[in-house]
Symmetry: C2
Subunit: 196 residues, 2 copies
């Protein structure tokens, strides 16, 4: 079988969703290495054999979650920013959506960051992919004269870094939503710089 079997019925999809939700929670609470297929099955209230209908092994679940998180966050940002009039406005709303998403999926950080220990290539692919999409949008805005002529890759990693660490501070360390004032300050930094 392939690593993941996408269910063909809505009943199967429900079961797979339960398994994914349980896995996300367990990986987030206990980490990848301290979680077994048995734990996941128990939390999802399915038989261990049922997990193997959809996933080859624990790593396949992990990889699937990572791809699903990446897809869902991009989709939510795309929907929320579809009526934006400028790249600036898009970026600002993108921050809000990302932070709110990360707060709802508190395991997001842990799962992504732990992936470097589970599988270095998975981790690299995740960010290569994410940064690649960011770069395209930055280049488009540069062509449109909305963003300064700085290396799009450097900008992409700066923005990813800002999102990750501001989110880390508020969502993980403080266990609170990121306040609007914080996003305002990030936007001022990105609009005017910080050095006088």
């Amino acid at each position: 079988m392939s690593d993941v079997n996408i269910p063909k019925t809505s009943r199967g999809q429900e079961t797979m969703d339960k398994i994914c939700k349980a896995a996300e929670e367990l990986f987030s609470e206990k980490g990848y290495y301290n979680t077994s297929i048995m734990d996941i099955a128990q939390k999802a209230q399915v038989a261990p054999g049922t997990v193997y209908i959809y996933f080859k092994d624990k790593k396949s679940i992990f990889k699937y979650l990572l791809e699903d998180l990446s897809y869902t966050i991009r989709k939510e940002i795309a929907i929320a920013t579809k009526d934006c009039k400028s790249r600036y406005e898009e970026e600002k709303i993108g921050f809000r959506v990302f932070f709110d998403f990360a707060r709802k999926h508190i395991g997001l950080y842990k799962i992504i960051w732990e992936s470097q220990f589970v599988d270095k290539e998975l981790f690299k692919d995740y960010y290569d992919n994410f940064a690649g999409r960011y770069m395209k949008r930055i280049k488009a805005a540069q062509n449109n004269n909305e963003i300064a002529d700085l290396d799009p890759e450097t900008l992409a990693y700066c923005l990813i870094g800002i999102t990750n660490f501001v989110g880390l501070k508020w969502i993980i360390f403080n266990d609170k939503p990121v306040p609007d004032e914080v996003i305002e300050d990030i936007m001022k930094l990105l609009k005017f710089g910080m050095f006088r």
Copy 2:
């Protein structure tokens, strides 16, 4: 015994250094969970009992490494920036030193990032501490009118995020030093912003 026994002789210090170097390499290559005290002793070419002279357990070594990395990086930045005439120049040289340090200690990222799975409080303390020191320097520069009036904590986490993710891209993913042009572009972003 306490968690760590600092040796009283230079011979003891040499042994402890060997143990730390071996542990840093192993945690970095194989991760914390896949490394045993036995592995560390073997790599350091000491008897397992010798490791326990200096450290209570594996976690004590991990914690000590984390504190030592934090101290050393701050010391190197302080030395390199002592003759700087402005906060802007200090920040720029600080980036160079941090990136070069991270490249020499490639396990730095892994050790710090894995700490959230080993001990959440260790991880939080590491960044609280790092950000706290950053904030003091940002506030001083704000009083001096060198940095705009933005929340120092937000700025600290933005800068930490930029350093971590640009470093991740170049040092970990590309396995190359961070080019000077990349630091130039980060500095332009921090001086003028990116949005037009």
